[in-house]
C-alpha cells in the first residue's frame, strides 16, 4: 500500500510537472494566463511531499517490501537516524532533491502571483516553465533508474541499516538538508536566466530578481558546506575538515561560480555591463551542480561519499549536454540584445574590482574542476590510476584565495565608474597602518608561518577597509543630522541593508580565512599507547588514561577510552574518544572527542589491547578551527541581514 501510494505520487508528480511546463510555455507564448501553471506548481509540491511522507512512513514502519527500506533500514536503528536515512543513499537523496525543487517551484509561482509585473518582466512563463522541466528530469529519475519504491519479494525480516558513517553523528540530520537547499535551489537562478533569454526581456528587472533568488540558495549552500566541514571534523577522526574529496569539490564549484555571479550581477544591474558574462555564470553554476552530481553519483569517481553505482550517470550526462547546448544557443541568439551600452571608464573603479573578483573565482573553479576531473582524464588517456593530492589544490588556490581576501576589503572601498588615485590612497592609509601593526604584533607573539601571517595581515587590512566604509557614511550622516555617532552607524546600516549585509558576509569569510590559514599552519599531533592510570605530557597539555571499557547499544557496540585532559596543570575536560562497531560494517568507526576552544584538543582512540590493558590515543591540537565555523555563521547572518530588513521596511 505504501509502495503504491509513493509510486503513484511520483508518477502523478511527473505528469503534473510535464503539464506545468507545457502550460507555462504556452502562457508565455500566447500571453495567456499563468494561472493553470501556478496551480500545477502547488499540485506538484503536494504530490512530491506525499511521496516523501510515504517513504518516511515505510522507513518508520520498517516495511522491508520497499526496496529503499531494505537498503538503509534496520530494526535496531534509532528513530532519529531512521528518519534521516531518507538521504543516506542514492534514491532517497534524489527524493529529497525533488522535494526541495518542488518547494522552490511553488515559491517561484507564488512570487510571480504576488508580483505580476516583476514576474512578467523576468521571463514569466518561460522562467516557471524552465523550472518545471528541471522537475521533470528529477521525477523521471525517481520513476525509473532511481526508483526508491521498488518491490522486494519476499520481503526480508531486517535490513543492514544506513551506512555507519551516516549514523554516527546527529549532524547528519542538518548538513545534507542545508546543502541540498542550496545546491538544488541554484536551479531557480538558472530558470530566471533561461526565462530572460527565451523571452528576450533583458532589461533592468532580471538582475535584481535573480540576485535575490540566488542569495537564498547561496546562503544555504555556504552553510551546508561549512556544516559538512564541521561534520567531517567531528566524525572522520583525522582532525581535518576538508580533503578536496570529489563530493566536497562538487558542492564547492557551484558555490564559487555563484559567488562570482553575486558580484558580477551588481555590475549588470548598475551599469548594464557584463550581461552575457553574468548569465553565463548562472548557467555554469547550474551545469556544475549537474556535473558534480554526475561525477559523484554515477560511480565514475570513487569518493567517501559515493553511493552505489547506478544507471543515473547516463541520464545526468544527457541532461547536462542538452542544457549546455540550449543555453549556448540562446546566448548566441541573444548576443545583439546583450551588448553593453556602457563602458569601463577607469581601471581604478568598483567595476574593475568586480572583474578581478570574477577572474579569480573562475580561475579557482578551474583549478578545482581540473583536480576533480584529472583522475578520469588520466585513466582514460593513459590507463593509470591516480589521485590528485591536496598539495596541488593548496599550491594553486592559496594565492588566489589571498588575492580574494584583500579584494574583499578593497572592492567596497573603490567608487563606481572612476576613482581618483588620491582619494583611494587616503582610504587605504589607516587600514594599511593597522595591518602593519597587526603584522608586527603577530610576528612578535610568534606567528612565523608565512601562510598564516600573510593571511592575518591581509585580512586585517580588509577588515580595516570595511570598518572605514561603515564609519565614513555614518560620520557624514552624524554631521548632517546632528545624530549621536552610534545612532548614525545604526541608521546608515539599516538604511542600506543590502550593502552592509554584503560587508557582514565579507567579514565572515575573512574570519573563516584566518581560521583556515592558522589551523592549517599550526596543527600538531602525537600518539601514545597508555596503560590505565598512566599519563603523557604534550606541550601545555597532559592527558591521563583512566580506563577502557566496552559498551553495548542496540544498533552498535563501542569501545570507549575515558581520558582526563589537563592544560597548564589545570583540569581541562574529561573526554571519551571511542571506536564504534556497527553490525553492518567490517571496520570500526572512530569517533573523536573534541574540546573546542581557541585551540581545539582533539582525541582519537586509534587502538586498544583486547584485554583492556592499554589504549593508543592520538591527540591533535589545532588552533582557531572554531573561527571557521563562526565565519560560516557570520556569513549566513549577512545574507539574512541583506534580505530581511528590506522586506520589513517595504511593509
Amino acid at each position: 500500500m505504501t509502495r503504491f501510494v509513493g509510486q503513484l505520487a511520483i508518477l502523478l508528480a511527473l505528469a503534473t510537472s510535464a503539464a506545468g511546463a507545457l502550460l507555462a510555455f504556452a502562457a508565455a507564448r500566447g500571453a495567456r494566463s499563468l494561472f493553470p501553471a501556478r496551480r500545477a506548481a502547488g499540485a506538484l509540491l503536494a504530490l512530491v511531499a506525499l511521496a516523501v511522507l510515504a517513504m518516511e512512513y515505510a522507513l518508520l514502519r520498517h516495511d522491508f517490501s520497499v526496496q529503499y527500506v531494505t537498503q538503509v533500514g534496520s530494526l535496531e536503528t534509532p528513530v532519529f537516524y531512521t528518519i534521516i536515512s531518507l538521504w543516506s543513499a542514492l534514491e532517497g537523496s534524489i527524493l529529497l532533491w525533488a522535494l526541495i525543487l518542488a518547494v522552490y517551484t511553488a515559491a517561484l509561482a507564488q512570487w510571480q502571483r504576488r508580483q505580476p509585473d516583476a514576474g512578467v518582466a523576468t521571463g514569466g512563463g518561460y522562467t516557471l516553465g524552465t523550472l518545471f522541466v528541471v522537475n521533470v528530469f528529477f521525477l523521471l529519475l525517481l520513476a525509473w533508474p532511481a526508483n526508491p519504491f521498488g518491490l522486494v519479494s519476499p520481503a526480508p525480516m531486517n535490513g543492514p541499516g544506513p551506512n555507519p558513517l551516516l549514523q554516527n553523528h546527529p549532524f547528519m540530520g542538518v548538513h545534507p538538508p542545508l546543502l541540498y537547499l542550496g545546491y538544488v535551489g541554484l536551479a531557480v537562478p538558472f530558470a530566471f536566466a533561461m526565462g530572460a533569454l527565451f523571452s528576450g526581456q533583458l532589461g533592468p528587472a532580471w538582475p535584481r530578481a535573480i540576485r535575490r533568488w540566488t542569495l537564498v540558495p547561496w546562503g544555504f549552500l555556504s552553510l551546508g558546506i561549512v556544516a559538512g566541514a564541521w561534520w567531517s571534523y567531528e566524525v572522520l577522526g583525522w582532525g581535518g575538515y576538508w580533503a578536496w574529496d570529489p563530493v566536497e569539490n562538487a558542492s564547492f564549484m557551484p558555490w564559487l561560480t555563484a559567488t562570482a555571479f553575486l558580484h558580477s550581477v551588481m555590475v549588470a544591474e548598475r551599469r548594464e555591463m557584463l550581461k552575457t558574462w553574468t548569465l553565463s555564470l548562472v548557467i555554469a553554476t547550474f551545469l556544475l551542480t549537474l556535473l558534480g552530481t554526475f561525477l559523484t553519483r554515477s560511480g565514475v569517481i570513487a569518493s567517501v561519499h559515493a553511493f552505489t553505482q547506478s544507471l543515473i550517470g547516463p541520464f545526468f550526462l544527457a541532461f547536462f549536454g542538452v542544457t549546455l547546448l540550449v543555453a549556448l544557443g540562446l546566448l548566441a541568439a541573444r548576443a545583439e540584445t546583450l551588448r553593453a551600452p556602457a563602458q569601463l571608464d577607469s581601471p581604478l573603479a568598483r567595476e574593475s574590482a568586480f572583474l578581478a573578483n570574477n577572474l579569480l573565482f573562475v580561475a579557482f573553479t578551474f583549478v578545482v574542476l581540473l583536480g576533480t576531473m584529472y583522475p578520469l582524464i588520466a585513466e582514460a588517456a593513459r590507463g593509470v590510476k591516480v589521485s590528485v593530492g591536496a598539495p596541488y589544490f593548496n599550491r594553486m588556490n592559496v594565492p588566489l584565495a589571498l588575492a580574494l581576501v584583500l579584494l574583499s576589503g578593497l572592492g567596497p572601498a573603490l567608487p563606481w565608474r572612476r576613482g581618483s588615485p588620491r582619494a583611494v590612497l587616503a582610504k587605504l592609509r589607516w587600514p594599511a597602518v593597522g595591518a602593519v601593526v597587526v603584522g608586527i604584533v603577530c610576528a612578535a607573539v610568534g606567528v612565523r608561518a608565512f601562510g598564516a601571517w600573510i593571511t592575518i595581515v591581509l585580512a586585517a587590512m580588509a577588515v580595516g577597509l570595511l570598518v572605514e566604509e561603515t564609519i565614513g557614511p555614518a560620520r557624514a550622516r552624524a554631521r548632517a543630522h546632528g545624530e549621536h555617532p552610534f545612532a548614525a552607524v545604526r541608521g546608515s546600516v539599516l538604511a542600506n541593508p543590502r550593502r552592509y549585509g554584503g560587508y557582514i558576509a565579507h567579514f565572515g569569510v575573512l574570519v573563516a580565512a584566518v581560521g583556515i590559514a592558522v589551523s592549517a599552519s599550526y596543527r600538531r599531533e602525537r600518539e601514545w599507547t597508555l596503560r590505565p592510570g598512566q599519563s603523557a605530557v604534550y606541550g601545555r597539555y597532559a592527558i591521563q588514561l583512566d580506563s577502557v571499557w566496552a559498551l553495548e547499544e542496540p544498533h552498535r557496540d563501542a569501545v570507549i577510552a575515558g581520558v582526563h585532559a589537563f592544560r597548564d596543570g589545570q583540569p581541562l575536560a574529561r573526554l571519551y574518544p571511542r571506536l564504534n562497531y556497527y553490525r553492518n560494517s567490517n571496520q570500526p568507526i572512530a569517533t573523536p572527542a573534541v574540546r573546542e576552544g581557541a585551540e581545539d584538543l582533539y582525541l582519537v582512540l586509534s587502538a586498544y589491547a583486547e584485554d583492556g590493558s592499554t589504549a593508543t590515543v592520538k591527540a591533535i591540537i589545532t588552533p582557531l578551527v572554531t573561527w571557521i565555523w563562526c565565519g560560516g555563521i557570520i556569513l549566513a547572518a549577512g545574507v539574512v541581514f541583506a534580505l530581511v530588513p528590506a522586506r520589513v521596511a517595504r511593509r
Partner: protein
C-alpha cells in the same frame, strides 16, 4: 568603444589561458599513483622516491611490531609479488594479517616507507558478507572484562 570591450575579453582569456597552463603543469606533478606491489616493482626506476599509494594484502606471518621503537614491518602482496613495508606508529585497530591494506609513502632501497597505513575497505560502502564477523574483535574485550 567596441574595441575596448574586445581587448578586455581578450585580456581575460589570455590571463585564464596562462593560468590554465600553470594548473595543468601543477596537477601533472602532484598526482599520487595507485599501484599494486607487482606494478611498483615493474616500475621501480621511475617510482623510486615518488609518493605513491600501494594496495595489496598483508602477507600471512609477515607482521612484526616493535613496541620499543614503535615500528611496524610487514609485507604487502598481490598474489605474485610482495613488497616490504616499514611504518612508524601503532597499526590501525583492524589491521591484521591476510587483510587488504593501502599504504601511502615512498619506495626506496627495496623498502616501502609508509607514513599512513589504511585498512582497505572498498570505496563503495558494502555490508559484510555471510561468514564475516565484524563484531568478533571487540567481543574479545567483553570476554576478558567479564572474566
Amino acid at each position: 568603444m567596441k574595441r575596448r570591450t574586445g581587448s578586455l575579453v581578450f585580456g581575460g582569456v589570455v590571463i585564464l589561458g596562462v593560468f590554465a597552463y600553470l594548473a595543468w603543469g601543477a596537477v601533472g606533478s602532484n598526482v599520487v599513483y595507485f599501484l599494486t606491489p607487482g606494478e611498483l616493482l615493474a616500475r621501480t626506476p621511475e617510482a623510486r622516491g615518488v609518493a605513491v599509494r600501494l594496495g595489496g594484502m598483508v602477507e600471512q606471518g609477515s607482521v612484526r611490531w616493535d613496541a620499543e621503537r614503535r615500528e611496524l614491518r610487514f609485507r604487502l602482496q598481490d598474489g605474485t609479488h610482495a613488497v616490504e613495508v616499514l611504518s612508524v606508529g601503532a597499526p590501525p585497530q583492524m589491521f591484521a594479517e591476510g587483510m587488504g591494506a593501502v599504504v601511502e609513502g615512498v619506495f626506496t632501497d627495496g623498502v616501502f616507507r609508509s607514513h599512513n597505513v589504511m585498512v582497505k575497505h572498498s570505496n563503495e560502502y558494502r555490508a559484510p558478507q555471510a561468514g564475516e564477523q565484524p563484531a568478533e574483535y571487540y567481543r574479545q574485550l567483553f570476554r576478558t572484562q567479564s572474566r
